[in-house]
């Protein structure tokens, strides 16, 4: 009990102290000459127009969200590329047994642990057969196609709904014909 709580206590204390000390030091050593200009809002050197506490147009967020979706999708491509690359590489019959063994262990870490790969006998039995590696490569390719297709469904949905247009079709109509509102 005392052990854990003591640690927590010391940790909290350090945090507070380290936060307070610079403020206190600054308050001691800096000159204090407040003026109205110092309280002004700084916005790229331009004078501000109105309050900065305004609601931004929701469309900014929609676009930002779309960007993130595709951004994150790209992140998913990295591990896939690793697997796909290794598998295609393994499918090449000309690579050395050592390299094959290494690639297999990166593909199947839990089955093919580094400990067993050191032994010479393990190499021949556990490295992936090139034909199987090719199959694996193709399968991962199909996988990513499906993944991408599902993503494209969402994209098509957004597109058709007009969420990609800055001014949506129904709003255009109501702008042209305000009496309908």
């Amino acid at each position: 009990m005392t052990d854990v709580a003591g640690h927590l206590l010391i940790f909290t204390l350090c945090g507070v102290v380290l936060f307070v000390i610079p403020l206190v030091i600054g308050r001691w050593i800096r000159p204090a000459r407040p003026s109205a200009a110092k309280d002004d809002i700084y916005e790229c050197g331009e004078p501000t127009i109105g309050s900065s506490f305004i609601q931004f147009d929701l469309r900014f967020y929609v676009v930002a969200l779309l960007f993130i979706v595709f951004d994150v999708e790209l992140v998913f491509f990295f591990p896939w590329a690793q697997v796909f690359g290794s598998a295609i590489h393994l499918a090449d019959t000309s690579i050395s047994a050592d390299a094959a063994n290494h690639l297999t262990s990166t593909l199947f870490p839990e089955i093919h642990s580094p400990a067993t790969s050191d032994q010479h006998s393990a190499i021949s039995t556990t490295s992936l057969h090139p034909r199987a590696a090719l199959a694996l490569g193709w399968m991962s390719f199909v996988d990513v196609i499906i993944f991408f297709a599902v993503l494209l469904v969402g994209f098509a949905y957004l597109w058709k709904r007009g969420d990609l247009d800055w001014v949506r079709a129904d709003e255009l109509k109501s702008i042209a014909n305000p009496s309908h509102r």
Binding site: H129, A132, G154
Partner: protein
């Protein structure tokens, strides 16, 4: 190809074969999203009656999944990203039937122009719940839980465009994201301790570690807290009444059951490997007191606040909170070979019965709507038995069932939990059983208020409301099952027992 190669490849390729019912559902989701926008005008309107077609497609998809579930193999697989065992079989069955009922409940709650998305969300949520049961890996589990959460935000947001619905949707979204973050933090702690996300591997790692896995315990606390949000356990329940009140009745019906099912299944899945395998210290001294308090506080707060409500959906939200408290009793008693029936069995039985009665109650509220305006207060139910005797009778059955009175399945469900807690023998668990009885008595107060309003008061007007068949079909089906399960509980009980025998 040598033997290890085949094992390696098949561990990857066979994953898709284990989730065929879910693939059917998700495929339908894609079709809905792809085709849906082409059938509506740019302003979001569609031909009147389009929702019937989308509803039909959703039902067809669920029925296909049900067929695949029923005929599918029951071979137990415990390796790979998905784990197939009897819990999966049970959860699939319960969830698919619940989905069928929810599609009917949602049928008339959605505009024609939004029906495609709404039903797609429902199907995605269904697949998500099944995947929660299937998950054999922290990553898969998290993704499955998010597959429930994200469509739920949309589902809550779609039906109506007034401020209350939006507020409810945003509130749920923000707090749900917050709870996901808490849970994810817990996952990362567990991963940090075990060095793997694979659940069986975590179990092995915990069993082999020779010191107290403090990090994993802390991780589990976060995970339980994150999941408690879905369960609406106190103090993570605050959103429930506000969101139930604000969203359409179909959204409330969904929220009242589906996240709870997913949360409990996830808890069962996580507690077994993480807690059962670890040294006895974890289970007995650390996790159980927390779950005990969670259960007690949840049931008391749920019922205390439920009594004060005049808004029907708020009341049902608190009723859900209280029921989660009861179900946590089952989790608390857990898997004890000495007590008959064991807590998890009783919990699984209760979950299914609770789903039927709560979805049924919402279905009746929808069927009793007037001019497409949702029923809000208790007063609007006054004299329902004069105006719509059939609906009043069904709602009475559900209220009796929620209160745990015979001849309804709710009675047997509570009885099972009570027996499980009592027979297990611990003093603390007997207290739980006792608290449950006290709470059941308190709860019947507000359930009977509904019955009283329907039967003892004069109707405010002679308006008969809508006669849309879908919610009526759903409520009739729920009534029939709630009553049938009282007379033939073995049907469900045997299924529950096969779950535990594996």
């Amino acid at each position: 190809m040598s033997q290890p190669d085949a094992a390696m490849i098949s561990s990857v390729t066979s994953a898709a074969g284990k989730v065929i019912p879910e693939l059917v559902l998700l495929g339908t989701v894609c079709i809905n999203f792809l085709v849906g926008p082409f059938l509506v005008t740019p302003s979001g309107r569609a031909l009147p009656g389009l929702r019937h077609r989308w509803g039909g497609i959703a039902i067809a998809a669920i029925c296909t999944a049900l067929y695949l579930w029923w005929t599918g193999s029951t071979e137990v697989v415990t390796t790979g990203p998905f784990r197939v065992d009897n819990i999966v079989w049970y959860v699939r069955g319960v969830m698919l039937i619940a989905a069928l009922l929810l599609v009917l409940v949602n049928w008339s709650q959605i505009e024609d122009g939004k029906a495609a998305e709404s039903h797609a969300c429902l199907l995605a949520i269904t697949a998500g719940v099944n995947l929660v049961a299937l998950a054999n890996d922290l990553t898969t589990l998290f993704l499955a839980l998010e597959l429930i959460s994200i469509p739920t935000y949309l589902f809550l947001f779609l039906p109506r465009k007034d401020a209350a619905t939006q507020e409810a949707g945003v509130k749920y979204f923000l707090l749900s994201v917050f709870s996901s973050a808490i849970m994810l933090y817990g996952f990362s702690l567990i991963y940090g301790m075990a060095g793997t996300t694979d659940l069986p591997a975590i179990q092995t790692a915990l069993a082999n570690s020779n010191q107290t896995p403090v990090l994993a315990i802390l991780g589990m606390v976060f995970v339980v807290a994150g999941l408690a949000f879905r369960l609406t356990a106190v103090p993570f329940h605050f959103y429930a009444p506000d969101v139930f009140q604000g969203s359409a009745a179909s959204g409330a019906a969904l929220l009242s059951f589906v996240p709870k099912l997913a949360g409990f299944i996830a808890l069962i899945r996580l507690l077994e490997p993480v807690v059962d395998a670890a040294p006895g210290l974890l289970l007995a001294d650390v996790m159980l007191p927390m779950l005990w308090w969670l259960s007690v506080i949840t049931m008391f707060v749920g019922n205390f606040l439920g009594i004060l409500q005049n808004d029907l959906r708020r009341m049902l939200a608190y009723s859900g909170v209280a029921h989660v408290g009861y179900m946590l009793v089952g989790l608390n008693v857990g898997h004890h070979t000495t007590s008959v029936p064991d807590g998890i069995e009783a919990l699984l039985f209760y979950l299914a019965v609770y789903g039927l009665m709560t979805i049924g109650a919402f279905a009746v509220l929808i069927a009793a709507e007037r001019d497409n305006k949702p029923l809000e207060t208790l007063d609007q139910l006054a004299g329902l038995h004069r105006v719509r005797p059939g609906l009043a009778l069904m709602l009475m059955v559900f209220m009796f069932s929620l209160a745990g009175m015979p001849p309804t399945a709710g009675f047997l469900a509570k009885l099972n939990l009570f027996f499980a807690a009592w027979a297990q023998g611990d003093v603390s668990n007997r207290w739980l059983a006792l608290f449950m009885v006290i709470n059941a008595a308190m709860g019947s107060w507000y359930y009977l208020r509904v019955v009283g309003a329907m039967y003892l008061r004069e109707p405010l007007d002679e308006h008969h409301g809508s006669h849309a068949p879908a919610p009526i079909i759903a409520s009739v089906a729920c009534t029939a099952m709630v009553i049938t399960l009282f007379f033939v509980p073995t049907w469900l009980w045997t299924m529950v027992q096969t779950v535990r025998s594996s």
